[in-house]
């Protein structure tokens, strides 16, 4: 129990089925608070499935079924008493390909806040500014807040999506391949941002880029065929992995 409370996210024997197909096989792990945890593994191994199970985005898939427990802040998120809307407000998510809403930059940021409560213009302005600053976008867009967010570059759009997620002040940020559609410079900016944000947020990151996992994460988990093969400190995974499969995957990639 003590361990459960310490870990921000705790999965125990967690399995996911898409109709008859099992996508996750009894995954058990603890994700600590205010650290960056990365998941790596070949395509189709269930990384996104695990990530989307944390904020219950998988509920949207028809025919999905879970087993085991997914505990966030000591509460099983699949418990009946959990309101999925509240849950998702506390757990932000950034997608691989998440285009901004077809609204202005300003409205993109304020959208999440205005869902439940009325805020004054001054409050909104302040949050827009602070979240854009924290996502390192403020300088680039401060003069065109009223313009359409779709006019931003891909890298700017992704940082806007991060700003949009942190504007509602979540505890956890889930990122599913946030940089896979970005150029190296934009990727660098987002990575920098992740390192800064981990002081405030618990970040869970899925990536195909092994260097990225090595650069930004504190812990790394390796998935293969729906199973969590190894989960340890990033340094340990990349220097002396305990499992043969992990080593094969990492060395294979680095060639």
């Amino acid at each position: 129990m003590a361990k459960e409370l310490q870990a921000k996210i705790h999965a125990s024997a967690f399995s996911v089925f898409y109709r008859d197909k099992q996508a996750l096989h009894s995954v058990t792990l603890d994700i600590p608070e205010r650290k960056v945890t990365a998941f790596i593994g070949p395509s189709g191994c269930g990384k996104s499935t695990f990530l989307r199970s944390i904020n219950r985005m998988n509920d949207l898939v028809e025919g999905v079924r879970n087993e085991g427990r997914m505990i966030v802040d000591g509460t099983d998120v699949y418990d009946k008493s959990v309101d999925v809307v509240t849950l998702r407000r506390r757990i932000g998510m950034v997608f691989q390909k998440s285009i901004p809403f077809p609204k202005s930059i300003y409205e993109n940021i304020t959208y999440g806040m205005t869902l439940t409560e009325r805020k004054t213009k001054a409050e909104l302005d302040e949050i827009v500014e602070s979240s854009l600053k924290r996502s390192a976008l403020w300088e680039e867009v401060k003069d065109r807040l009223k313009n359409s967010a779709l006019g931003l570059s891909g890298g700017q759009q992704q940082r806007l999506c991060i700003a949009r997620a942190i504007a509602v002040n979540p505890d956890i940020l889930l990122m599913d391949e946030p940089c896979s559609a970005l150029d190296p410079i934009s990727t660098g900016k987002v990575e920098e941002l992740i390192s800064e944000l981990k002081d405030t947020y618990t970040i869970v990151l899925v990536t195909h880029n092994m260097q990225q996992a090595a650069r930004v994460s504190d812990l790394t988990g390796f998935f293969l065929m729906g199973k969590l093969i190894e989960f340890d400190k990033t340094r340990t995974i990349f220097t002396s992995p305990a499992q043969k499969e992990t080593e094969d995957y990492i060395t294979g990639r680095f060639g």
């Binding site: 309101d83 509240t86 998510m93 077809p102 359409s148 931003l152 997620a165």
Partner: protein
Amino acid sequence: MTNPFRKERKFIGEFLAEWSIRIVASLSIVIIFLIFFFVFREAASLFTTMNVGTANSKTETPAPRSADAQAAAPEQYSAETYGDAPETYGESDGAAEQYNPAVEVEPLPGTNILTPLNMNYPEIYNPETGSLPADINDPTPMGTFSVTEQPLSLWENLTSNVWQPVGVQPKFGMIPLLIGTAKTTVIAILLGAPLGILAAIFTAFFAPARVRNIVKPAIELLAGFPSVVVGFFCLVTVASFIQDNFDNTFRLNALVGGIGLALAVIPIVYAIAEDSLSAVPRTLWEASLALGSTKWQTAYRVMLPAAAPGVFAAVLLGIGRAFGETMIAIMATGNAALNSWSAFAPARTFAATIGSEMGEVVWGSEHYGVLFLLGTILFVVSFSLNAVTELYVKKRLIKRFQGR
């Protein structure tokens, strides 16, 4: 241990709004189907009440034609059935003696067929001309014009407010037609657009795939529903329903016609709105939900605005359909060119005017020309609606998703 993810929603209003929208949307789908189901039900009554003919046999049995049958005639056509005829039906003075059993004049074979079966019409229906007067409250009988009236210029004539194209001095005032068209179109859109859009939102985002796969093609098929059947349904069922509930003077009126046109509009609005709503990238739906919004908030704050050009197009095309629909407008509106904005007064639309007068017009006459003018207006309006839809919507969609 307290649950950190318990419901923190404070606004009961939002909760109520969400559920009422959910209920209204599902209801609108159910209603759409029920309406069309009722059309079939009207036909089904034919089979369930086959004894209609025998129950009314007194009035429906044709006159005896053969010599032996004539003997039975006096009993069959008793005063009870036809006794009132002479007073109410002026044209058949001669028939009064014929059908009075007391006088015992031998009825001529076959004459009974000419006797109108419905005795309620004489004040309204003129069997001589076969036409209904424009306004049954109008004290002047149809066709009596003062010959001393000043002839009007064409423009004055077209902008006057009487449409009486046949007469000593034909009047081609388009104002009543304009009012009639506007009345019915507005009613049709006010009813049809919200129903169609709500149904589209429901199937695009809320209904499980299984339901959607049935409902979507089904509603779209209704777009091909023959309008004469819809018109007939309104003429019979909707008109009675409205009369029972509103106690209106005119059985057929703009409201009945508007409901009929709405039936034609709904499938069109639905089909186009559905397509444009489902064309909005699914990533927007997920991104909004991940921010902690409810499905309804996502639907009306993200998806609907993103699909706004398409939904707008759906409404425009719906207007075009209501505007140009002919058969329903002829059958269900009362088809009388009144100069009244009341929803409970009959209306005559442009399309219905062409539809009901073109067949009898003198080729090349002024009336003929005016009908073609109406046709041109119809064409121009429909064409502009479609053009606006095409040009505006394409541009806006591109702008929306590429941000240029």
